[in-house]
């Protein structure tokens, strides 16, 4: 009885059923976006600011710190995503042969998915810090005499620690989504190509890679967008003098002088816009490809 022959009534019913969930998710999300956007335009009645102006954005787009931070954030996300994707593809290609042999491999691959990023970040800190576990082992083995002789891997100027954490955490995520495609979709096509006399490279070029690509792209875009907007990992593992954009926003937000609030919101708005662009790309490349194939 929930289904009508009329398309428009069917649409209405499904829309009505979606309403409660959308009310909470969409409502609070969009309300947050709008409040953030308005505050970034200097509208802040709490301290008597009621006129809209763009001066915060103008200030931000003239600040060298902002550009340095933007480039640093983008760079970290790009390097982490590319590295994670590469390792994940290699891992997936290698593992596909063994997956049929039992669930334990799959389990091993996925074990770090439920671990929060904060925990991962602290683990990296404890392992790779200048007085971390590895440094202590090196001292014990007589390789170094002082903590400062250990290479700087965390809170460094290049974000090595941050990239390390992201790669560690995101490789399984990408690998799992690629692996599920490799397992179920490509095998018959590869067999077909083999029967037609295609060599290994040709099979990879015409079957494996094209099938893998949408899953790889869409999961990579998710990873990129996540790492770009993420706060906790660069907060723990980053250097104070090389803040990522979310950290710049957080610092402005925590400033007890309320006149810094619009700056925090403006940086958030910029992060949101960049993430939106990524979502559009995701729909175009990831989702779009899947829709076409169906």
């Amino acid at each position: 009885m929930f289904y009508s022959k009329s398309k428009s009534i069917r649409l209405l019913i499904s829309a009505g059923m979606l309403f409660p969930a959308l009310f909470i998710v969409g409502g609070s999300f969009i309300a947050g976006l709008i409040i953030c956007g308005i505050q970034s335009l200097d509208y802040f009645p709490l301290i008597g600011k009621r006129t809209l102006s763009l001066h915060v954005y103008i200030g931000i787009f003239q600040s060298a710190v902002f550009y340095r931070s933007l480039i640093f954030s983008l760079g970290i996300s790009l390097v982490a995503t590319v590295l994670a994707a590469l390792i994940a593809v290699i891992l997936a290609l290698w593992l596909r042969k063994y997956v049929s042999q039992g669930g334990w491999l799959h389990f091993l691959l996925q074990f770090n998915l439920p671990i929060p990023h904060v925990v991962g970040a602290i683990a990296i800190l404890i392992l790779f810090g200048q007085s971390g576990l590895i440094s202590r082992l090196a001292y014990w083995a007589g390789i170094i005499q002082q903590p400062s002789q250990f290479p700087i891997w965390v809170t460094d100027q290049f974000g090595i620690g941050i990239v390390l954490e992201y790669v560690w955490k995101e490789v399984p995520f990408i690998a799992v989504s690629v692996l599920s495609i490799l397992k179920s979709w490509t095998v018959p096509y590869e067999k077909q190509l083999q029967l037609l006399g295609a060599n290994r490279w040709q099979r990879w070029r015409f079957a494996t890679f094209p099938f893998m690509l949408p899953a790889l792209l869409s999961s990579s875009i998710i990873v990129f967008a996540y790492t770009f907007g993420s706060f906790e990992v660069p907060y723990i593992l980053g250097s104070v003098s090389m803040p990522t954009l979310p950290i710049l926003a957080y610092q402005a937000y925590l400033n007890p002088d309320l006149s810094y609030r619009p700056e925090a919101m403006a940086i958030n708005t910029i992060i949101t816009i960049i993430s939106m662009i990524l979502i559009i790309l995701y729909i175009k490349w990831g989702g779009g490809y899947a829709a076409k194939r169906q």
């Binding site: 649409l11 009310f23 309300a31 009645p45 007085s131 400062s148 700087i152 100027q157 925590l254 400033n255």
Partner: protein
């Protein structure tokens, strides 16, 4: 076509949700105001009666195990047993987080039933809440134990130069101290002012750093330098003047940039918090840590959080000391119980235990011991004579105590440090 239409449907639903959500936020705060006034004018017994069975959400800096433990076990147990109040300590890394929570609720029109009942607060965060008119009060002088507090003392009545007017109640006091390891440095090698510190740092490259402002102690380190280079704190007791500030602050930036290449990791980064600085000190990566507790570092040594040979000391040019307070947000859900907590923590016995490094964490007292008599007075006299080498003596602390600067200078120093030192290549 079908795809487009469902997208349009979803967007429409989102807009409807948004409008409904936006409309539900408003609520009149008048009722709350009346209840506040009746609470402030009622007798203490009435406050106790109202507080019964309530839960107090106390937002406080959670970076010290000794403090957390004392609050949970000591205060928590007493509140439950004596007043049937449940204490929920909410740890935060920066007081501004709690301040923002209150401000966000105020912006959303949540004028009653707010989630924060009590905040451990002082300085610029108090100024922010007062500026936004988001505090409950004046309640401090209404507390029965306020009779032990010397509100005629400007150090108590003012917070970073701002009159407290009973909108926050004192809890304890602190003073900045340096910590060194007597096994690593001989006492006669110690620098005793910022000029000596500079030559020490240059002689020992990589062995000194400070917590990056806006960390509380890091900001203090910079403030004291600012005092010393600008010719003393007396100059800065007047309202904020940008131009004068810039001229004098540039001396501090020059100093900090000069020692930067000789700092830990060449000054390319700094520890984010004083806890990180202490870790560096413990790992023998740097030679100095900072401390705020007037009772010294015996608690940390006892718990193995500092080496047994660690010792605190002061600069001759003085260090900043101040009182720390608790405040109740204007929309707190459990104001009566929060008042009971604010009163309890002023109890002379508890103040004494908190100040005793073996029982509490060596925090400075918030009450005035000269107002006590009998048994209580004896306790504090004993505490005074108990000072050992793990603490700077009370007289020494008092002699070198500098007041904190007007609230407006703190963000200016923090911003200035970021722009002129941290991001300066």
């Amino acid at each position: 076509m079908k795809y487009k239409r469902s997208v349009a449907g979803i967007i429409l639903l989102c807009i409807v949700s948004l409008i409904t959500a936006a409309c539900s936020g408003k609520h009149s705060g008048d009722q709350g105001k009346v209840a506040d006034e009746s609470l402030l004018s009622s007798s203490w017994d009435q406050v106790l009666a109202e507080a019964k069975g309530q839960t107090v959400n106390w937002y406080m800096w959670g970076g010290s195990d000794a403090i957390n433990e004392f609050v949970d076990t000591k205060y928590g147990t007493l509140l439950k047993e004596q007043y049937n109040i449940t204490l929920r300590r909410v740890p935060i890394s920066d007081t501004a987080e709690a301040v923002n929570k209150v401000l966000n609720e105020k912006q959303a029109g949540k004028n009653e039933g707010g989630s924060v009942d009590l905040i451990w607060i002082n300085g610029e965060n108090f100024a922010t809440l007062k500026q936004a008119d988001a505090l409950f009060g004046p309640f401090a002088t209404k507390l029965p134990n306020a009779k032990y507090v010397d509100y005629d003392n400007p150090a108590v009545a003012k917070d970073f130069g701002l009159e407290t007017e009973g909108y926050e109640s004192v809890w304890g006091s602190a003073q900045f101290q340096f910590v060194y390891d007597s096994k690593r440095i001989q006492p006669d090698e110690l620098p005793h002012n910022y000029q000596e510190l500079k030559s020490w740092v240059k002689k020992h490259p990589g062995r000194f750093t400070y917590a990056a402002p806006p960390d509380f102690t890091g900001t203090r380190f910079v403030k004291q330098l600012f005092y010393e280079l600008s010719g003393g704190y007396e100059k800065w007791s007047k309202p904020f003047n940008q131009q004068e500030f810039n001229t004098e602050a540039s001396k501090a930036w020059d100093y900090l940039n000069e020692i930067k290449p000789s700092l830990w990791r060449d000054g390319e980064t700094y520890p984010k918090t004083v806890a990180e600085l202490t870790t560096l000190f413990n790992n023998n990566e740097v030679d100095f840590a900072f401390k705020q507790d007037i009772g010294g570092i015996a608690t940390e040594i006892g718990k193995g959080k500092l080496p047994k040979t660690a010792r605190p000391y002061l600069f001759d040019s003085g260090t900043i000391g101040d009182h720390h307070n608790v405040a109740i947000p204007y929309n707190a859900a459990h104001k009566a119980a929060a008042m009971v907590v604010a009163n309890l923590i002023l109890d002379p016995k508890l103040q004494h235990e908190k100040a005793d490094p073996t029982k509490g964490w060596g925090d400075g007292i918030g009450i005035d011991p000269s107002r006590l008599d009998g048994e209580n007075k004896k306790l504090f006299d004993e505490l005074k004579s108990k000072t050992r080498e793990t603490a700077v003596s009370a007289d020494e602390l008092l002699k070198h105590k500098l007041p904190d600067i007007q609230a407006a200078y703190t963000p200016a120093l923090e911003e200035g440090w970021k722009n002129h030192v941290l991001f300066q290549k």
